[in-house]
Every structure is written in C-alpha cells, then in structure tokens.
Symmetry: C2
Subunit: 360 residues, 2 copies
C-alpha cells in the first residue's frame, strides 16, 4: 500500500528539484524528511550573504546566496529580487530538471481528515503527470482521479485533456490573505479540507500563491519569473501573483492546463500585517488595472514558444502598464533580462555548461 502510493514520487526522483527561498536555518526540513530526502534541493538564500544558513544533515542540496547570483548572472543579476522571496525564481533558472516544486520555510506537513500526513510533493507530481481540462468544466472535478470520470454532457473530443503546466497547492491553518484582510480577521484559520483538484478554466485568472507550488519547468519555466520586488522596489508580496497572471495567460495561449486544490500544506504563521500593508499597498490599487490588462491580453499566433510569449507580454506591459507607473517599464525590462538569462543558462544540449553555485 505504502509502496504503491510512493511510486509516482520516486518515479521523478531525478527529474524534480525542490526550490526553497530562505533567510534562516532550514529546520523545517526535518518534518519533510520522509518526503523530500530523495530529492535534490536548490536553496536560494535571501538577504545578507555572509550569514550561514544551516541545512539539516542528509539532504542533497546546492545553496546560492546573493554573491553567487551576482557571479553567475553578472549584470543580468538585476532581474533577481533582493530581500524578497521573489528571489526563489533564481532557483528555477539554474535547475536542470523537468519539474520544480517550491515551498516556503514556514510550511509544514499537513494532515488529511483521517489524520494521515499529506505527502504534498507526491500529490503535486500526480497533478502534473495527469492531463488538465481547461476547455470545459467537469462538475465532479478532476476526471482522471480514481473513482471519478467525465460526467454526462462532457464532450468526448475534450476527454483526452491537455498537458498540465502548473499545480497550485493550498494551505491549512493560516490562509494566504492580504494585509487588509489579515488586519480585519486576525484570528481566521483555514480548517476546511476540500478534497479536490481542478483545472482553472481557460480565460480565467486566479491568484497564484508561491508558498506551495509545482510546475513543469520544461513547459512553462521561462515564464515563471517572480518580478522585481523587495529591496529598492516600490512593491512586495506580488511576486507570485505576477508570475501567476503571466503564466496563466501564456498557458491559455499555448493550450496547457493550470490546476489548483490539493495538496494542502500546514502554514504555520502569518506574516506581520502592518509590514505586509506597506509592501502591498501599491499592489492593492495597481491590481485593479493589472487584472483587466491580463484579462484582455492577447498573444499573436506567431508566439509559438514561451520565450516569444513572454517577450511579447513584456512589450504589452511596457506599452500599457507603463502608463500606470514607471515601475512597470523597469519590470518590462527585467522580464526581457530574465528571458535572456534563462536562454543563456538553458541552452539545449549544453547542460554541462551550467554554472555551479555553492553546490555540495
């Protein structure tokens, strides 16, 4: 029984990296040891590079601090945020694996209603390996799950589904609220275990949280850029949102699926709502313009690769959002830099040229 349920995880042992942005010792990994230890970790150290981050023994990892990022990317390092968990996307850049799972260091193993510990990574892998159904809603949710299927009235021509690019997992305990909601509901906890995975329909945007997220790097990696946040930027806590809006528009264009729902992790503590309010406040009013922008963004047919889509999107950001604030001009430039850095580090057949960080 245990063997059967573990097999899909082990299947991808050499095809998936776990990316963790952090500013502290990674004691949280102890709880994840049974699930993460077979995998390679990419740790992106944020903030002061002279600080020593302790990683529990027995894990296979490489760790990059700001000095590594500057050394590896040179002038292109400007596209990687500093003092913000947005720096995690550097880990996506230097990975050579097909799949990425990224998790925050304040996230622990959750339990399902029967009390069993949830192997979040295994569920993400299931989500990524099963097709998505973005073109028509299935009322019994994921039709590929055991005990479920497509319901009456679901077109047969759509039942093969499409490749899944993103698997967005959820959080029990502390929900992912913005600062105003945190302030208004300081004690609210998410206690509801919703036993479902679903495809977010084509044409629908969603707020993608980076806390518990997996994706097919080979498919959507070049668009999984977490933007310019934190130190020297007018905004924070919109890194994952930005990546979510960009990737969803591009997945819709490319015909790939984005799933949300299971797995849950246990989110241990809410960040400070007063600090968050300062980071978020520009995002809170900018998003009123960002959402309509992404909802109406159309990518031309000749955008046949994610890179082409992303460059095209950067042009639209510059032209349309540049009028909202000059920050978006800087962001559009950074989007281009990101894709250039991606292509530099990910040249086909040249994986041996990958620069090393402080690989252990």
């Amino acid at each position: 029984m245990a063997e059967t349920s573990a097999s899909p995880t082990l299947l991808l042992k050499d095809e998936l990296d776990i990316v963790i942005p952090t500013i502290r010792n990674l004691d949280f990994l102890e709880m994840w040891r049974p699930f993460f230890q077979p995998y390679h970790l990419i740790i992106v150290q944020d903030g002061d590079p002279s600080k020593i981050i302790k990683v529990p023994g027995g894990f296979d990892y490489e760790l990059y601090n700001r000095n590594d990022i500057n050394r590896i990317l040179g002038p292109k390092a400007s596209c990687i945020s500093f003092k913000d968990s947005a720096c995690r996307c550097f880990g996506y850049l230097v990975s050579k694996k097909k799949y990425i799972f990224t998790i925050d260091d304040d996230c622990f193993v959750a339990k399902d209603p029967s009390g069993k510990e949830i192997n979040a990574l295994q569920q993400h892998i299931k989500n990524l390996l099963a097709p998505s159904t973005p073109f028509f809603f299935n009322t019994l949710y994921d039709p590929y799950r055991e005990g479920t299927d497509f319901v009456r009235g679901y077109p047969f021509s759509l039942r093969e589904g499409v490749p899944t690019a993103v698997s967005h997992g959820l959080w029990l305990n502390i929900p992912d609220y913005d600062a105003p909601t945190q302030l208004v509901k300081p004690l609210e906890k998410n206690t509801r275990f919703v036993d479902a995975v679903m495809t977010i329909p084509k044409g629908t945007l969603f707020p993608m949280c980076g806390m518990n997220l997996a994706f097919n790097r080979e498919l959507i990696g070049p668009a999984m850029y977490f933007g310019l946040m934190g130190d020297g930027q007018p905004i924070g806590r919109y890194d994952d949102m930005w990546a979510g809006w960009c990737t969803k528009v591009i997945c819709d264009h490319m015909g790939w699926g984005v799933k949300t729902g299971l797995p849950y992790i246990w989110h241990s503590k809410a960040s400070n709502p007063f600090v968050n309010l300062k980071k978020e406040y520009k995002g809170i009013y900018w998003q009123e313009e960002l959402i309509p922008f992404f909802q109406s963004a159309i990518l031309p047919k000749d955008c046949t690769t994610v890179q082409k889509c992303y460059i095209e999107l950067s042009k639209q950001v510059r032209a349309k959002l540049g009028k909202v604030d000059e920050y978006f001009i800087k962001l559009a430039d950074a989007m281009v830099t990101w894709v250039e850095a991606w292509d530099e580090l990910n040249q086909t057949g040249k994986s041996s040229e990958v620069p090393n960080g402080a690989a252990k």
Copy 2:
C-alpha cells in the same frame, strides 16, 4: 443550533416552489419530509395522464398531468416534452415564486462525512442568497462562506460579487454519467464528499444536471427551458444540458453567477445504460457542435432582458445549428413558443390570473 441552521430555509418558505417530475408514486418524499414539508410542491406527471400518482399525506402540492398542460397552454403545449423528465420545466412556468428547487424522484437524503443528514434545500438557498464571483477565481472557493474570504491578490473591486442565478448540486453514490461511461464503469460510485461551493467562471460552460438544481426564477426563469426531448423527438437526456448551456451563456451576458458543488443528494439507482444509449446517441455527436456554438455565442448589447436574450439565442440556434440537423429548427421554434408561454403566464401584476392545475 438547529434553529439557527434552519432559519435561512424558513426565510424563503413562501418564496420557493419544489418542482418534481415523475411517473410514479412519490414515496421518496417520506425521507425528505423534515426538509420539504413546509414548502409548496409542483408535481409534473409525465406519461399516461390517467395514472394516479400517490403523494404522501401532509404535503402541500399541486399536480399537473398532460391533460392539464394541454388545457393550460393550448397549442403552446407543443413546447413541453412528453415521456421525458424535460416536462419539469412546465412547473417553472406555472410557479409564481421567486425561487425554484427541482429534484428527481430517485434522489434521497445524503449524509455528510460526520454522518449528519444534509438539508440540500437549505444549502441551495444559501448558495442562491450569497453572491457569486464569476470574474476571478478564488482559490479558497466560496469567499462568502464562514471561515473563508478572498485570498491575497483578489481585486477588491470584485469582492462584492454579483447576484447568483443558479445553484447546481451534486450526487453521492450513482454519478451522472452518460451511457458509454455507464457501460464501461457499471459499478463506479461517487463516494467523495468535496466540501466546496464555487462559481463557474464567466465564459466557461459546464454540464448542468437537472437532478438536484435550484435557481432564481425571477432572474433566469425564462431561459430555464428543458427543450424538446422524449416522445416524438430524436433525442433524450439532454434536456438539462441544453438548459445549462443556454442559461450559462445568458448569465454571463447579464452578469449573474452560476454555482456548483454542495449540496449533495444520494442518487439511488442508475438508469438503464442501454436505454440511455438509444436516447443519447445523437446528443453525443451533436454536442461536439453544440459546445463550440455556445462557447462562441455572443448576445448583442440590446438584449437587456432574459426574454430578449433567449429569443436572440433561438435565432442563432436556427441559423447555425439548423445546418447540423433539422431538429434544431424545431427546437428554435419551441424556444420561441416557450418564451411566449412564459410571458403569457407571468404577466407582471397579473399573478391572480394564473391558471390552476389540479391544485390541492
């Protein structure tokens, strides 16, 4: 506790009719007595009108058979199907209430994972009275539910939501599969209780099942037509699907919401897959053309009422689907007849002129 949870139900006691299509004695109502007895029932008897349908004592109901339908609608009775549960929409036509809940007579009370009996009607009322969020996906599902809210990155301008027109409930035990899936998976049962209600995003179609369905009749009633099915028609078991596609397109145009998820009912027995295959087979290939038709249907801005939307849709059905099969010309005519019948029986301020069936 019991009083609190019952109150939203009793709130609508005089504003909701329960519509039940049937060909047999309504013994199934015994199990629903605690939940349904305060409400008025509209029973639409299908098939032989000389057959006596027994209704358990203590229920307040009116019952219409084919003779009543013919008498009340005259020549317009042609739009009401015979020998198919599509006849249920006659009940929507003659109701004078703001809300409708319709349920099949092989549906029983389901239990939640804690073993508590589910008051399906009460959950539908909650769904209908709370707003919908069709313009952006909330990853924690219904943001208006207790213990939940909008997550970070959800635009504040969209948090008021829009009126809810339809609440689509689900089924434990026998899932609502088409005949081919029934044949392939004769023993499959739906045992998964997914504790969620969600808005189906704008622009996304879904397969609406009529087994366990509630709607705001004042908003969307004139579009809740179940089409021409059964006796004398080349198709069956697509009545609710047809209504679902039409109402979703119109709700999207009008800016109203459609929800799916809770409540579950217990669906007791699967219909015969061989009989179903005969009823469905044209629908199974027609739906490959119907879905793209509805996905691309655009209603002009001057369609400011549901009636105008529905007439416009009937024109598009005639023009585009008429080429698929002449059945759709007949159906387009019936759509117009339905709206005429609706307007005749639902003239504003003339509710006293409502014709009676065999009202008890």
